[in-house]
């Protein structure tokens, strides 16, 4: 589904990614771990197409299609979803209104009519109950005054509504207590299917106990220095990242 080859990227003249290779197939869950400053969040921003990041070498293909010339919204229309580490506030725009706008924007890009109001309502009900979100939450301003858990739950709610092909969860576990983590992870697990793929970016193994990955990659200094299965995450939890740094 997503094929990344020899990806180099910089931000404000600073080289962050130094040759990433990653192949994610439909139905797979990949975890990307690594110490602070290793380039994890940069990788997610680059895949999503953030304008501050400049790709200076390498390719990114989604289902064989080159992403490099596509604007962020076009990548979203192709089915890329990024669950933000720090979701932004938009005062006066309700959770419902925002997701409606997003869904209809993607439909429009595909040449479809706006989703009928009753269909939308049904879908919102279905997905919000999946994540234990009540209706009062849906009428609040997007992320304004949300707790850490509510913000992340709202990201996963949007993921559920948009049904992307490739979801990137950027430190979705940060700022979550154990109960919120379980709710979010359960939500993600319910959305796993053979047709979509998930990349989980995290510092800790904790989230991976709930969202079990097929592959674990360790990112250090802008490169994937080690790949393995879920046992690698446990090994990292025990030994820390120092041995990886020595290896690199």
């Amino acid at each position: 589904m997503l094929t990344i080859e020899n990806l180099h990227a910089q931000v404000e003249g600073k080289q962050i990614l130094n040759g990433i290779d990653l192949d994610v197939k439909a139905g797979e869950v990949h975890a990307i771990m690594g110490p602070n400053g290793s380039g994890k969040s940069t990788l997610s921003s680059v895949i999503a197409g953030h304008q501050d990041y400049e790709v200076n070498e390498g390719t990114m293909l989604l289902e064989g299609e080159d992403l490099s010339e596509l604007a962020p919204e076009e990548r979203a229309h192709k089915g890329i979803f990024l669950s933000f580490q720090y979701p932004v506030e938009i005062p006066g725009v309700s959770v419902t209104n925002f997701i409606k706008t997003a869904i209809n924007a993607s439909r429009k890009a595909k040449g479809l009519e706006d989703m009928a109001a009753n269909e939308m309502l049904k879908k919102i009900r279905e997905k919000s109950s999946l994540l234990g979100i009540d209706s009062r939450f849906l009428s609040r301003s997007l992320n304004q005054g949300f707790s850490g858990g509510e913000k992340k739950r709202n990201e996963i709610f949007q993921l559920a509504m948009l049904e992307p092909k490739l979801s990137i969860l950027d430190e979705t576990d940060s700022g979550l207590d154990i109960d919120a983590l379980k709710i979010v992870a359960n939500g993600v697990n319910k959305l796993r299917s053979k047709d979509n793929a998930i990349i989980v970016i995290t510092h800790y193994q904790r989230l991976l106990e709930y969202i079990v990955p097929d592959f674990v990659h360790v990112l250090f200094d802008g490169k994937i220095v080690k790949s393995g299965n879920k046992d690698l995450a446990i090994e990292l939890e025990e030994k820390g990242y120092d041995w990886i740094k020595e290896m690199a």
Binding site: A48, E73, A76, V88, P91, F98, T101, A102, A105
Partner: protein
């Protein structure tokens, strides 16, 4: 609702003469390109127990300057007069300006006057967030602006609110830079 001319001065006002009379002012002033707007209201409290509310939303884009200028005046015989003013400004880009000039003149000790003002800027992170969800930059700005103006748009009759929303979008066309 003001999207008006190159230079606009406009202060539709209320004289609260009768006892217990109420004045309310809700406005959205949007400036773009090189427009200059200096708009607001006057609430002149003459009668007893008079109340006024001012909600002003200013949106500045391009190289425009947008000012709120408002007078709240409480006369000696206007006992228990109350006013609440809220002026919010939204900036787009870094070449526009927003200004707030509240004038408050109180000549009666029983008056209660409140004034709140905020200034915020449409952030690139907000736009990117919308983009990532499939919303293009122009639509994203319209969304943020509509959210910002919501308290005022909610006061309008439905038909007019829909028109007003469209007008905001048209006035902001091409301001994405």
């Amino acid at each position: 609702m003001e999207t008006g001319s190159a230079v606009t001065w406009k202060y539709p006002s209320c004289i609260l003469k009768g006892d217990n009379s109420i004045g309310e002012f809700y406005s959205i002033a949007l400036t773009n390109n090189y427009q200059q707007a200096d708009t607001g209201t006057k609430m002149i409290h003459l009668g007893k127990n008079t109340k006024s509310t001012i909600i002003s939303k200013g949106i500045s884009a391009g190289k425009s300057q947008n000012s709120y200028r408002g007078l709240v005046q409480v006369h000696p015989r206007a006992t228990n007069a109350r006013n609440f003013s809220q002026c919010d400004s939204l900036l787009m880009g870094n070449q526009c300006g927003a200004h707030t000039f509240p004038y408050i003149e109180v000549k009666n000790k029983t008056a209660q006057i409140e004034h709140e003002a905020t200034t915020s800027k449409i952030g690139e992170d907000q736009i990117f967030y919308c983009n990532q969800r499939g919303i293009d930059p122009e639509k994203a700005i319209a969304l943020v602006v509509n959210g910002f103006s919501k308290e005022v748009l909610n006061k309008l009759p439905m038909e007019f609110a829909v028109e007003a929303q469209k007008l905001l979008e048209i006035s902001l066309e091409g301001s994405v830079g």
